[in-house]
Amino acid sequence: MAADLARTARRWEGLILVLLVGVSVWASLGVDGFANGSNVSFLLLDTTEIALMALTMTLVIVAAEIDLSVASTLGLSCAVLGGLWNAGLPIEAIMPICLLVGALCGAFNGLLVTRLGLPSLAVTIGTFALFRGLAYVMLGDQAVADLPPAYTSLATASIGPIPLASVLVAVLAVVAATLLHATGLGRSIVALGSNEEAAYFAGVRVKRIKFWLFVASGVMASLASLVYTFRYASARADNGVGLELAVVAAVLLGGVSIFGGRGTLPGVLMAVLLLGVVRNALILADVANEVLNFVTGLLLVASVLAPNLGAVWRRRTSPQVEGKSVS
């Protein structure tokens, strides 16, 4: 059974890779302005915040939890940045404070989930509203834009076509992938995601791991908020509204099971890129925004449906197995 799932997963990631290469080749040949350095740079830059948050979201979802408050944490962190900047603090001091705010947001989620045993879906829907609300309380309708040019230009700077922000993503991706796929902790995360009770009795410190996953998710959201704020040179309470769905979407499209216990980081990163490439190419090809949303939605529905359809199909074609399970 496990081997079967692993095979499905590999097949799915293979498919995403084929799609990614296919769409990129199609866009390079058929869409004017796609295959040049500055466009590739924009495209990569546009995916940075989603990619950052998707790294930790992958871990959280593999552990059979979810964090829907990431974009609100990002917003709160932006608001804190804007507020403290207006108060005259140096930006170098504000940035670690922002990361701390993210950590606290994550710890709050983590405590509610692990201490009170509440489902993370419910908890983070609550904190989704709570953190965003807090962001508005902090900064109101202000937009703080007079940020230091040294940092705003750093956020959009690139080495050749590769933005610095993407280098940051790549480094953190390697860290996250190593953690998930090559350490005991990673195996524990997968184990507790596929069967929490069994993992607990096997000695996995379920609650502790979950708590720190939420903290990591919060820190990553505030790191994304720094990239976002400097990139757009605008700190506002409504920064990143709706990004949580883009993040979850990319993670699911990347082949991570929404039920936990299965998924790989390379798959998720390819999915982030695929969504970015599709979006960029369709906009360049003057495809209307509605169609764009429709195409993205279609990809996502397919990503959730495909593994399950496969399972149904296998059951249909091997009736003796079905007979056994019924009797």
Binding site: D32, P90, P148, Y232, S234, G242
Partner: protein
């Protein structure tokens, strides 16, 4: 199981914060100094304009509204596309379906890739779009803002509907007439960061300071986010919170339509006065059924039309965006660029049951 460890990294972070703060760093006042220094340095070398240059043929002009599928922008952008046809260019409308600050940026980048000659943009956030626009301008794309301005360094020319002062003040005057200069009033705006809305609201507040409005009180500015549902429920909320509300000003086409729909079905119909900015087609039935007495707007099709001509004049080298330069805008005649690169379309038009049938937009 988890309580002991969290404090260690927290303390570490706090230590780092103190360290960096103690070492000093970049603060708001540092940046203010630097930018004022660079502003004085940059104010010289502008290329000369040639007022007699002919409009280039085949200009590609892209309209980037706050959001697509917003009737107001559809009309404005169609006006602009119409103008582009007149001078032998090619116009198109692209844009995000949500009016959020950052979603316009990826469109600016792609328009630059498509080598458009000009981008005509209504900014969702005056600053978030500037880095991308600057890049586009450096690549030779001319930028005209219309409806809602960007920070001045992000565009060549701003085509303004009517002076914000006129709009803000006349809306108060219009409502005051309808409620007999007496009672509580509220504003139903779009998003809290919309540049144009906030400027108008400031002028409304200023107008209300005049003695003739001493019996009028602005009790709340609500935000409907240019979302129909949200504007509808915000209207509902206003009437609940202030049962003695005399009138609402909604300086946004989405807001006023939603508010009118709510009022027309409520017992407050005709009692709570509603005015603001709307399009005649959208509000005709509410004017006829007595929900709305009078409202105002500039002609959005003319706004897009004028912005299109301004973009073409820029791309053809007729103007550079400097004060005092003149250009011709087809059927609208000649315009002069004012201070800070602003061009004014003209005074707003007031629509009521006597004249509304003369307009179709």
């Amino acid at each position: 199981m988890t309580t002991r460890t969290p404090w260690r990294p927290t303390a570490l972070l706090a230590g780092l914060v103190l360290l960096t703060a103690a070492c000093g760093g970049t603060t708001k006042s540092d940046v203010a100094q630097q930018s004022s220094a660079s502003a004085t340095a940059a104010a010289s070398s502008a290329p000369a304009a040639d007022p007699n240059a002919p409009l280039k043929q085949g200009l590609k002009i892209a309209f980037l509204p706050k959001q697509v599928n917003n009737p107001y922008f559809t009309i404005a952008d169609n006006g602009g596309i119409e103008a582009a046809k007149e001078f032998g260019g090619e116009g198109k409308e692209v844009g995000p379906s949500d009016a959020s600050a950052s979603s316009q940026v990826s469109y600016i980048n792609t328009l630059m890739q498509q080598k458009q000659d000009a981008i005509v943009i209504s900014a969702n956030d005056p600053n978030a779009v500037v880095p991308a626009l600057k890049q586009a301008m450096a690549a030779g794309v001319k930028v005209v803002s219309y409806d809602s301005d960007t920070a001045p360094e992000g565009r060549d020319v701003f085509v303004n509907q009517a002076s914000p002062e006129d709009l803000g003040r006349t809306e108060v005057q219009l409502l005051a007439e309808q409620i007999g200069h007496k009672g509580k009033i509220a504003v139903l705006s779009a998003t809290p960061n919309a540049t144009n809305q906030n400027t108008w609201i400031d002028f409304m507040k200023d107008e209300l300071k005049k003695p003739e409005y001493k019996d009028m009180e602005l009790v709340k500015v609500a935000y409907g986010n240019d979302d129909d549902q949200k504007s509808f429920t915000e209207t509902q909320g206003l009437l609940r919170s202030y049962p003695d509300l005399a009138g609402i000003i909604s300086p946004t086409t989405v807001g006023i339509a939603a508010a009118a729909r709510y009022l027309s079905d409520s017992p407050s119909k005709g009692k709570v006065k509603l005015t603001g900015l709307g399009t005649p087609n959208q509000l005709r039935k509410f004017v006829k059924d007595g929900t709305i007495e009078a409202f105002e707007l500039w002609n959005p099709a003319d706004l897009g039309y004028l912005a299109s001509y301004a973009a073409a004049a820029l791309a053809s080298g007729q103007i550079t965006g400097a004060e005092g330069e003149k250009f011709k805008a087809g059927k609208l005649g000649e315009y002069t660029i004012g201070a800070k690169g602003e061009v004014l379309l003209g005074k707003p038009t007031v629509f009521n049951k006597d004249n509304i049938d003369k307009f179709d937009f």
